[in-house]
Amino acid sequence: MSEQKAVEPGKETTTGEEAVDLIESTLDTFLSTANVYAAYGEPIEKGDTLIIPSAEVFSVMGFGVGMGYGGNDEEGGGAGSGGGGGGRAFSRPVAVIVASPDGVRVDPVVDVTKVALAALTAGAFMTGMFLRLLNPKKALKDMQEGNFD
């Protein structure tokens, strides 16, 4: 978003201040999401059983704003400002709380997809590192250089 207008002598532009105020209020609203109801969902009641889902939520947000002035009164001058921002929220189920006449229990939730991806990445990385140790080109180079250690 951006806007451009002629600078009138004696009049100050408040576009930059408004942008900063907007950023601060948006950040305050964003930081207010640090509360318990972001981690726990609405309880679900089915018969005698109560289920409360829980999740881990990670949110990040950033903004940027800039403004500039140019020219002089004789040439008309000019001012411009712009800004932008973005954010992302990640959530992952952690556990389910089940309250029944038999008692209360916490059932953990394993994110199989995430674990599988992490295991594949870790496995590939470790395999690559071990293969570097067994590198035949490196061994041949060492032999040619007389390095038999």
């Binding site: 950040l27 640090a34 981690a39 309880p43 990670f58 949110s59 950033g62 709380i97 995430k114 674990v115």
Partner: protein, 90 residues
């Protein structure tokens, strides 16, 4: 702890069910460096407090097996890197 990092523990309103009272706790870590238009918030469930009709209290910790497994894999990567580096140097 620096002022721009806030670690707080919050609790839900008590939930009454079948004569029991349940209170869930969550921990939040928020980061907002003054002067920088950047913010970060991390919420995670921590524990559950159950108060029975006879007043007996029980605390159930909420464990995150996914994060434990991923941390274990990360430690494995780090350990492998250190070992291979040591072998390469020797």
């Amino acid at each position: 702890m620096p002022d721009f990092v806030r670690i707080e523990t919050h609790s839900t309103h008590p939930i009454n069910h079948q004569g029991r009272r349940l209170v869930a706790f969550a921990q939040s870590v928020s980061l907002q460096i003054p002067g920088l238009p950047f913010g970060l918030v991390w919420n995670r469930p921590v524990s559950l407090l159950v108060v029975d009709s006879d007043g007996q209290e029980q605390i159930f910790p909420i464990k995150d097996p996914t994060r434990l497994i991923i941390l274990g894999l990360a430690c494995g990567i780090l350990f492998t890197w250190l070992i291979t580096r040591k072998i390469n140097r020797s």
